[in-house]
Subunit: 352 residues, 2 copies
Amino acid sequence: MQTPSDKALVPFVSVDHMMGLVHHIGLPRVLTELATCIEDDFRRWPHFDKTPRVASHSDVGVIELMPTSDGDLYGFKYVNGHPGNMRTGLQTVTAFGMLARVDNGYPVLLSEMTLLTAIRTAATSAMAARHLAPAGATTMAMIGNGAQSEFQCLAMQAICGISHVRLYDIDPAATAKAKRNLAGSGLQVTACTTPQEAILGAQIITTCTADKQYATILTDNMVGAGVHINAIGGDCPGKTELHPDILRRSAIFVEYPEQTRIEGEIQQLAPDHPVTELWQVITGQAQGRRDARQITLFDSVGFAIEDFSALRYIRDRIKGTAFFQPLDLLADPDDPRDLFGMLMRAAPGKAA
Amino acid sequence: MQTPSDKALVPFVSVDHMMGLVHHIGLPRVLTELATCIEDDFRRWPHFDKTPRVASHSDVGVIELMPTSDGDLYGFKYVNGHPGNMRTGLQTVTAFGMLARVDNGYPVLLSEMTLLTAIRTAATSAMAARHLAPAGATTMAMIGNGAQSEFQCLAMQAICGISHVRLYDIDPAATAKAKRNLAGSGLQVTACTTPQEAILGAQIITTCTADKQYATILTDNMVGAGVHINAIGGDCPGKTELHPDILRRSAIFVEYPEQTRIEGEIQQLAPDHPVTELWQVITGQAQGRRDARQITLFDSVGFAIEDFSALRYIRDRIKGTAFFQPLDLLADPDDPRDLFGMLMRAAPGKAA
């Protein structure tokens, strides 16, 4: 074989590498650093090329491409969402992503993003809660104890100072799993048997369930004054978690309205229902929480800029480590017009 | 490290593997088989989920995502186009792509597509020429002798029976390179010093130049009755190769009008100028070439279904070969809800 040139090789972060990198840095530190990275990119929101994700829907799920660019780097994520996968032993969500240089189009990073999406989603939730949750919040209700739940709890601990989480899932085995995984985290963990029990005393309520249907995880009478709701499970058309009356009582914050109105909880409301863009809260252009009694709602569906931030973070963090491998992804002939000659020189029996 | 399960591993075809596979099968046979594969997918055109590619333009180039799905498989390609890259020793176009199952969203193939795009573009051109070129065509003019040119010549030879190619490029070194590469192909090759000379006696004229600007590679008086023009270099807004008067004298065939009107030669014409979709010619729903004197023009910009066909072909053809490697791209915990547990068990010092 011909040895590919450096230009042909793209650093690839496998699942195993990603796990190694996270342990090398430490998960709480990864969550904290990534939240800062995402906040930095939200601060320069107007600089980004933004578009709603490109979704391909089927009866059983969705496959999406989420591209964005800041003019220097271009990034995209491939991600699927198939709620029925769990029944056959598969992940509901899997993902991978890529960063490339805008000036020449060459990829500079290819990475697994199943784990990284879980981490960036938790970091985004906690970053938003840092801006929106009531001061001195100590307790979070975690409704839905699937693959995302432990990351949410640890991000809220590391970034917002939450010390107590109250877990509920329709499946007690999921709650038991999350409780087991959080042992040793320093969090006080309470397993609950109803959503009503879970939200007792919670200043932050996180909902993260996976059914692809209109569901009412929280009803109106369950939500008292002053809480912050972090709603991350309603993230595609026809998939919601909150009763519309809760939405009408809340100050609603979103990532990218054009996408959230299609996919988020607010798909249940009129298309002109007022919402605030989170980046404007971060830059001080819009008000966040008004007072201690207001209900704030982060109607989060996940946006391409968060993935861009995560890929950018990983690209910086793998430097000088062994947590990647060079991948022979790009053809790179000596003469760029001589792609055919490169192929011919690779014929069996030819000298390299 | 934990050994990833089969579900976590995605077959990856590197550039080196792709070159090995092409030599293993033989390039003329790859071109012929792939043309059949593309034609089969054009035949079932209405079954596909179609959307214009998602383009991110900058001053110096474009980065695109090209997704499509036939309901069973979903595919997309990442591709850039940067005409200035050549000056710094980089490829104008690089690409990679992926196939996934629609029913669970899991990727089943990741592949280099820089080489594969060159091959599929040539196979598509020849497949279209088989339907549109005048009967008994033996000579092709190849205007633009860059990375795509030799593939075009060999595809027209293997699929349309072309025996003579007449090469022209603004840079004689490119022509010399193509002529050298085609020695031994069985094609009669004539190097020409002007476009006028190149088209002498040609029944097929292929234009494939790379400037990102309105250019006039062919002027009206150069194009006589009965030729088939295969225009593949005009493929983004502001980038064309033919004088509009040629277009007005031609019967124009396109892949996907919604995309071609933005990117193809016909961006120079009124938005309602009549065009025929190639798939309808293939299925017999529309007429192809009407008579021996008609000028036919395939205004080709490249469409996602061609990449889908190419990925599908590669997926089938690597079976039972060593021309791929399993890539640890997907997180696959034993319990799909226990992504966090999988991460924890990967901590250094933990038994797998």
